[in-house]
């Protein structure tokens, strides 16, 4: 079997490594002064991210050497483990800022929703492949998947992690679409999810404030719109060519989360429009490579898997960039490969590892 494998998609491999390395540099750059001030150690975040980047790249290469069809067999276990991790995080999770999203394992904190996304995509790819003949039948093709997707969506939503829940739901919907479910069923499902998400926004005060801040950030620059205005200021003051590496003003305590969810504005401030243009372009190339792999995969499972993972990563990037440019309300969403955070980076790289393996087995 393995002897028919060829070398993986080099472009995908190179842009992933490039993004990770650039991310480490930008995280250090954005966090150094804050880390020194708050923790007395300017390299605190650098060290952590570097550790995860190296680990993650190794894991990515390892995963790219595992036949992706193995995930098909493991799918039920992955789903069950992921379910229990999501339950566990609600019970024993570490609470940060009112949300239980992290599990503490020894010294590592781990975000089960990141794992859930990958597990869900593998499950959908397998199941839609198996039932491909009956997908038009609502009871067989749509209902079982929707129930499982709904449970996971709910578990993540009550953490609360609205961003994570939306990503998971959209990934599920896109997989349905790719698999060929009736558009009518799909749109009904989409509306239900949208309804749940809106309810969760309405019942929680802080999310309402975020939405209001998004609708008109300038109305009350002191609180609601504060972060987004700082984000605009960062992006805007970058101009065409940027202030140059290390010269961001906004990272100096003006822009909160400038090393995690709001790293993109810092990139924009230091590298200008040219920099942001390039980053977005790199994600487009990423999506294009994903399309290529998906179309040439040796079986439908592989095609769906590749499409799902490509979508997952690209869509997270789109959402993050939309948030920081004020196109969408603020929510906790990392920019894949670039934002600080071990779980997010690790699972994104595992995803790329799977993609790379599919690309080793492509035909024609």
């Amino acid at each position: 079997m393995r002897k028919y494998w060829h070398s993986p998609n080099k472009v995908l491999f190179l842009i992933t490594c490039g993004l990770v390395v650039f991310g480490v540099i930008m995280i250090y750059n954005a966090s150094a002064i804050m880390a020194e001030r708050r923790f007395g150690d300017s390299t605190l975040f650098l060290k952590k991210q570097l550790f995860w980047a190296i680990m993650g790249l190794f894991v990515m290469i390892a995963v790219s050497k595992i036949d992706y069809n193995l995930w098909q067999k493991l799918s039920p276990f992955l789903l069950i483990i992921s379910f229990f991790l999501l339950l566990a995080v609600l019970i024993v999770g570490k609470e940060i800022g009112g949300a239980r999203r992290w599990l503490k394992l020894w010294v590592f904190t781990f975000q089960p929703s990141e794992f859930a996304k990958i597990a869900m995509i593998i499950y959908f790819a397998r199941s839609l492949d198996k039932k491909r003949a009956k997908l038009k039948d609502f009871k067989i093709g749509v209902l079982p998947h929707s129930i499982i997707l709904g449970i996971f969506f709910g578990l993540i939503l009550i953490e609360p992690d609205l961003g994570g829940a939306i990503i998971l739901a959209s990934a599920g919907l896109i997989m349905f679409f790719m698999g060929g479910v009736k558009l009518l069923h799909l749109s009904c499902l989409g509306l239900v999810m949208l309804f749940c998400a809106s309810i969760s926004i309405i019942i929680s005060d802080y999310k309402i404030r975020r939405v209001l801040g998004f609708l008109n950030p300038w109305a009350d620059p002191q609180s609601k719109g504060y972060q987004i205005i700082q984000s605009f200021t960062a992006l805007g003051s970058g101009g065409i060519f940027g202030r140059g590496l290390g010269n961001s003003q906004q990272k100096l305590f003006n822009l909160p989360e400038s090393h995690t969810d709001f790293i993109f504005p810092i990139i924009g401030e230091e590298w200008g429009f040219v920099g942001t243009l390039t980053i977005v372009f790199v994600f487009i190339v990423f999506a294009w490579q994903g399309r290529k792999i998906s179309l040439k995969a040796p079986n439908l499972f592989g095609s769906l898997l590749a499409a799902g993972i490509t979508f997952l990563i690209t869509f997270q990037a789109i959402l993050n960039i939309s948030v920081v440019t004020g196109c969408l309300p603020t929510k906790g969403l990392a920019l894949p490969f670039l934002s600080f955070g071990g779980s997010s980076l690790m699972f994104s790289l595992i995803g790329v590892g799977i993609l790379l393996n599919v690309s080793r087995q492509t035909k024609c």
Partner: protein, 613 residues
């Protein structure tokens, strides 16, 4: 190759869907490009202006720490406002800074701080938008002077801050503790909660309950002009005061105890045997907790951290001593409960006892000997020879067993930090740690509370509590209630019973009787008060490094004990002569407390003076 083997139609459809999907993504990417173009190119100049012209400064405002009250609501630790002189070096050149510093020194009327100021400012320059705090607590008069000069001295600013204030100065300083700027270690431990420069509790309740007391830090983000004048507030978070602690400590009993001990080094613990509440906890030498709210000078630092007096050591829970004869209470109890001795058994005390092959001599404290003694006399006179004999009969294992049952050799679990656990020796322990087998001589030492045995005053007080209340070993505690900053009760700490120890009624009755006898006719006469039924036991712990330590434990009323007092005077000498009179002073003042929960005001002269705040 599913593209070929399955019907081509299916593959074609999949291909179409991928195409549709990519169109969707492309559309979004296109929108994002437009948005970035708008923000960075079209509005770029505008945002550049904002970023350049707006000079933003961040002012952190530490929340006022929660109040600490005694059990009656008297304030033991509060806050007062103080003025701090801040300096923002951002925008200023080095020569401007030096000019400003000279002007500041002019106002202050002294020059000694110049280097210090320059150093602080240079440090702060690394963090734009923030202030260096040049001087805390500058006083009202200087504050007004600086306010007048503000325009002439670019960079300065005055901030009102709340500063921790202990109105009673040295009062219960080891219980309350003190606060100080967070260090690197603490920062690592409490990463998310604290920021460098925060003030946290260092010892005592300030440390244990720091999370309750610290409140939520606030801050202001302000826009300033080139002269550092505040233009407008961009964002402000009002700090929220910390929670209020109500203690079990009774301030009048505490004052009484502190006065009774005077200037001697030592400790006093007063517990309520009915529930384990700590009514007083004294350790001397003490300190004024207010001193630590501003940085210490070298002399103070040396005194607090290197002096052999160890003023910061809470001797009531962190110092370990041999208990001496007060341990005989437990030996008596063990012997009676294990039925190794009868109430009527007598031994003859000729002043010493020889033991072992080498005929080692173990003396009684009374060289002449007590003559023939029964158990009650032996307790009252603290006859060592009787206890040697009784200890041998009871055996080291039984004594160890009871010592552990009553909480020795283990932390009591009081809500104060760094408690010591003491040491209860056993043959296995000696074999392991010292390498020798256990000798009978060790048992003799053990049964009069000397040798390897180590206890803290709190452990002894708690042991006496558990004996006189009939075997209920409580965990002593200092904080009784916690209120939030709107004075709603959010937590009430209930007494916690560690275990019930079985003590037969006869044993209990005998022990109380013999201890009463000790105070009335025996070694504890120094604590005798007419018309007050007190039971007590003296102890003199041999100290190889100097003068002996004096112990006294007592409880009153004997019939239904309401308070237990444990006195330790370091290097005091004899327990009967030194520690018992200290306890007597406390008992005398505590008579009204026993009746109505009040303290006799006549004996509170010095206490009232402290109380004027």
């Amino acid at each position: 190759m599913w593209q070929i083997e399955s019907n081509r139609l299916e593959y074609q459809k999949f291909k179409n869907r991928i195409f549709l999907f990519l169109c969707f993504l492309s559309f979004i990417f296109f929108v994002l490009y437009l948005r970035l173009f708008q923000l960075q190119i079209i509005d770029g100049q505008y945002f550049k202006k904002i970023s350049k012209e707006n000079c933003i400064q961040i002012l952190f405002q530490q929340a006022p720490r929660g109040t600490i009250l005694d059990r009656k609501g008297e304030i033991l630790a509060g806050n007062r406002s103080a003025f701090s002189l801040l300096f923002s070096p951002f925008n200023l050149s080095d020569s401007d800074i030096e000019k400003s510093v000279d002007k500041i020194n002019n106002v202050l009327g002294e020059d000694k701080n110049k280097d210090n100021f320059i150093r602080k400012i240079a440090f702060q320059k690394r963090y734009p938008f923030t202030y260096a705090c040049l001087m805390r607590n500058i006083g009202r008069k200087k504050m007004f002077q600086f306010a007048e000069e503000k325009l002439n001295i670019p960079g300065i600013n005055i901030q009102t801050e709340t500063v921790r204030f202990y109105p009673r100065k040295n009062f219960a300083s080891h219980v309350l503790g003190y606060i100080g700027e967070i260090n690197a270690n603490e920062l690592m431990k409490r990463g998310d909660e604290c920021r460098q420069g925060n003030v946290v509790g260092k010892i005592g309740l300030e440390k244990v309950y720091d999370s309750e007391l610290r409140g939520v830090e606030g801050g202001k983000q302000i826009e300033v002009d080139v002269l550092g004048r505040e233009l407008r507030v961009l964002r402000e978070i009002i700090p929220a005061k910390g929670n209020t602690l109500m203690l079990t400590i009774d301030n009048r009993l505490q004052i009484l105890a502190e006065d009774a001990l005077g200037d001697a080094a030592g400790a006093i613990v007063i517990l309520d045997p009915r529930n384990g509440e700590v009514l007083s906890l004294v350790s001397k030498p003490d300190f004024d907790s207010n001193i630590f709210t501003v940085p210490l000078n070298a002399k103070e630092w040396n005194y607090f951290f290197t002096s052999p007096d160890y003023p910061l050591l809470n001797r009531a829970i962190q110092a370990q001593y041999a208990p001496g004869s007060i341990f005989k209470i437990l030996v008596t109890l063990a012997a009676l409960e294990e039925k190794k001795i009868n109430l009527n058994d007598t031994f003859f005390c000729k002043g010493f006892l020889t033991c072992g092959k080498e005929e080692r001599v173990f003396r009684c404290w009374k060289r002449k000997g007590h003559g023939r003694q029964n158990l009650i006399q032996a307790v009252a006179n603290s006859c060592d020879v009787y206890f040697y004999e009784m200890g041998l009969k009871t055996g080291v294992r039984n004594i160890s067993k009871y010592a552990r049952k009553f909480g020795l050799g283990k932390k009591t679990g009081i809500d104060l930090p760094s408690e010591k656990k003491g040491l209860v020796p056993s043959p296995e322990w000696k074999k392991k740690k010292i390498g020798n087998p256990w000798f009978d001589g060790d048992t003799l030492n053990f049964s009069i509370g000397q040798g390897y045995l180590l206890v803290t005053p709190l452990q002894m007080a708690n042991l006496v509590c558990a004996v006189v209340n009939g075997g209920k070993l409580y965990r002593p505690y200092v904080v009784k209630k916690i209120f939030d900053n709107k004075n709603n009760l959010i937590k009430k700490i209930k007494p916690y019973k560690i275990r019930d120890i079985e003590i037969s009624d006869n044993t209990l009755k005998f022990i109380k009787k013999s201890l009463k006898e000790t105070v009335e006719k025996g070694t504890g006469r120094g604590a005798y008060i007419e018309n007050l039924s007190v039971g007590g036991k003296t102890g003199t712990a041999e100290n190889p490094h100097g003068e002996n330590h004096a112990w006294f434990v007592c409880f009153t009323p004997v019939e239904d004990p309401q308070i237990v007092i444990c006195v330790l005077v370091e290097h005091g000498g004899s327990g009967g002569a030194v520690a018992a009179p200290v306890a007597r002073k406390i008992l005398q003042g505590a008579i009204p407390f026993l009746n109505k929960g009040e303290v006799n005001k006549d004996v509170l002269k010095t206490g009232m003076k402290n109380n004027e705040f």
